[in-house]
């Protein structure tokens, strides 16, 4: 690990702040705002310098989500990076001349004045860039899914632990206001012991364009875009954004949105840090094009001790559960209409069921959950101040972030295993204590994908 002089104390930034506020770090309650720093604007010495790795669609969104924290002086964006020069120039226009511009993220990692990085690159880069950033001592916000292989997930967890950095994976559904309500509702056993969680999602798209390989556009560094993936000629249907539908990168809806919906499930079930014992998937593939992730899909995860089952189903639109209609008088105090009804989950307990829609930037709990009041003596749960805010809190206080890499990698592993079972057309057995597939040599080899040199873990 590269040690560097740090402007912002990490885990030594105590506990003092929290203790002074009468808050024990790690207990499930809202950390008071003044535990973050002195009241009002953060002093220059406490301002976190952020480098942005990737400035495409979602990554620009992450930059914008940091705006409140830039305005309060908690952080500033000092560098932007992208392998597409057009996107890089556009990003620079938005971010401003104070931010250096790079094509190669390793320049950002070299800078000792940069405390933290936001990784918003395509998924096949997450593992490598996360490990590199951790080894350079940077705190990390990394988009979901955390990684593409089991090997990457192990390496990321180990690197973060060795470096002692704060990490947050971009499953921001956990930090949404109604996610807190769902979590609290379930944690208090209102529907009894939950034995089954059924996650639903609309299908992955198919590419009907029949696009041949071609030369890359002049503004794109194709080699650097590919990074750790094995070499192939450029094809316009690999990017931008549509990498989501390639099994080796985005992994399809199960990894793209499963990383959100199953993240909520693992958190609300108190199952973070655990894993299934078996995974079994079936599905249908696209009939042509370069996209190969499952269009329709059924995956079953079986957990033991405690025993429960989670399913992930990509179903035709007409089969999706209808979304709750919210009346105008409900739309107060931040409550919004359900703008993404096409995915969510239903929780089946011994005493009833409940459901939510969304699970990412929007998480909507059904009415009875929203209306439920915590009784005296009831169990409260952690209420995130916001996903970025929670990350910065982790940087400053050493508190565990709500979706740190260990938990983020655990959710990514679920999605990876689901896809592996789909690809191999067979049930897989998983040993969580060893973090490996059991009894299937080919599947075990597919826990890793050797990376193209020099873009390796």
């Amino acid at each position: 690990m590269t040690k560097q002089n740090r402007k912002v104390p990490r885990r030594t930034f105590l506990k003092t702040a929290g203790a002074a506020a009468g808050v024990a770090i790690g207990t499930p309650q809202l950390i008071p705002a003044h535990a973050l720093a002195a009241p009002g604007r953060t002093g220059a010495n406490g301002r976190i310098n952020v480098g942005h790795i990737g400035m495409g669609g979602r990554a620009r969104g992450l930059y914008r989500e940091l705006a409140p924290l830039r305005e309060s002086g908690d952080c500033q964006s000092v560098a932007v990076c992208d392998v597409d020069e057009t996107r890089l120039a556009q990003a620079s226009q938005e971010v401003g001349p104070q931010a250096a511009v790079y094509r190669d993220y390793r320049y950002i990692l070299q800078r000792k004045d940069i405390d933290a990085v936001v990784i918003g690159t395509p998924d096949h880069w997450h593992g490598v860039q996360f490990v590199h950033a951790a080894e350079c001592g940077k705190h990390i916000y990394c988009e979901k899914p955390a990684c593409c292989t089991i090997e990457e997930s192990r390496a990321m967890v180990a690197a973060a632990k060795a470096a002692g950095i704060a990490s947050q994976i971009g499953s921001q559904g956990r930090s949404q206001p109604e996610a807190y309500l769902m979590h609290r509702y379930l944690a208090n056993g209102v529907i009894g012991k939950v034995g089954r969680v059924e996650c639903f999602h609309y299908p992955s798209p198919e590419d009907k364009t029949e696009t041949p390989d071609s030369d890359p556009p002049p503004q794109l560094d194709w080699d650097l875009w590919l990074g750790p993936l094995r070499w192939r000629p450029y094809n316009a249907r690999y990017l931008h954004g549509v990498f989501r539908w390639m099994l080796e990168s985005g992994g399809g809806q199960i990894r793209d949105r499963g990383a959100h919906v199953m993240s909520c499930a693992m958190h609300w079930m108190g199952a973070d840090g655990t894993g299934p014992v078996t995974v079994e998937a079936t599905g249908t593939s696209p009939t042509k094009g370069v996209w190969d992730s499952a269009v329709l899909m059924d995956v079953k995860y079986t957990f033991e001790n405690p025993d429960w089952v989670m399913t992930w189903t990509q179903m035709p639109n007409e089969e999706l559960p209808p979304a709750e209609e919210r009346t105008p008088d409900e739309l107060i105090d931040g409550v919004t209409r359900i703008s993404r009804p096409g995915y969510g989950a239903i929780y089946y307990g011994e005493g009833g069921k409940c459901m939510h829609w969304g699970g990412d930037g929007g998480t909507w709990a059904e009415r009875k959950v929203r209306q439920w009041q915590l009784p005296a003596g009831g169990k409260d749960v952690y209420k995130s101040p916001g996903h970025m805010q929670d990350w910065l809190l982790g940087i400053r206080t050493g508190k565990r972030c709500i979706m740190d890499i260990e938990w983020g990698a655990g959710v990514a592993n679920l999605t990876i295993l689901g896809n592996l079972s789909f690809i191999l057309k067979r049930k897989l057995r998983w040993d969580q204590s060893k973090m490996e597939i059991v009894g299937d040599e080919e599947a075990r080899r597919m826990m890793s994908t050797p990376q193209r040199y020099p873009y390796y873990l």
């Binding site: 890089l88 042509k288 299937d440 080919e442």
Partner: protein, 193 residues
């Protein structure tokens, strides 16, 4: 697919103008096995865009089918057929896929030597290195060690990395880790500069 998929039917359907028929064919190709490897490779090499892609998927379906636990007797002939596709007379695109297929079901003794030869092929050496890195046996480790000692040039740094992945200690001074060294400059200037 209701009717039994014979070799002839597979090859016919994989070239059907209807993408749904092609997809059903490659999805069911697994049990057709080793006999289909060479004909599918031919279609992959010579077929029109989507037909070539369908043939490739059929090959992968066979690899994954014979890679299942307990299928060693089905796997061996498939490996044998795949190795025949690695000759210099074959298209690079086909050979590249085959190398990665062998990374999933190959072994040091059955496919190591052939893969190791490709370490000297500039277009395929990186894929061959990855395949050898992925196949977890002593034979492939030895082949990587031999390659490190005999292949000249910068490629040795990549080979050194593979050996480290396999738990082999490699001289850091002679083969330094370069993963954090930036190499790409941008032409973009900061806005307003």
């Amino acid at each position: 697919m209701d009717e039994e998929l014979t070799l002839d039917l597979l090859i016919a359907k994989i070239q059907d103008p209807d993408d749904k028929i092609r997809a059903a064919a490659w999805d069911a190709a697994g049990p057709v096995g080793a006999a289909a490897v060479a004909p599918l490779a031919k279609v992959m090499a010579e077929g029109e865009l989507e037909i070539s892609r369908a043939a490739k998927r059929a090959l992968w379906a066979i690899v994954r089918y014979v890679g299942r636990p307990g299928a060693d007797e089905e796997k061996k002939p498939v490996i044998g057929e795949l190795l025949k596709l690695l000759g210099d007379d074959r298209p690079v695109a086909v050979r590249r896929e085959v190398v990665w297929m062998l990374s999933e079901i190959g072994c040091g003794s059955c496919s190591g030597e052939v893969l190791a030869k490709l370490l000297r092929n500039e277009k395929l050496r990186e894929d061959a290195r990855c395949a050898l890195e992925r196949i977890p046996d002593e034979e492939t480790t030895k082949l990587l060690v031999d390659a490190l000692e005999s292949i000249p040039g910068d490629f040795r740094l990549a080979l050194a990395h593979s050996l480290r992945v396999r738990g082999v200690e490699v001289d850091e001074k002679r083969y330094p880790c370069q993963k954090l060294a930036p190499t790409r400059q941008t032409q973009v200037k900061p806005a307003g500069a």
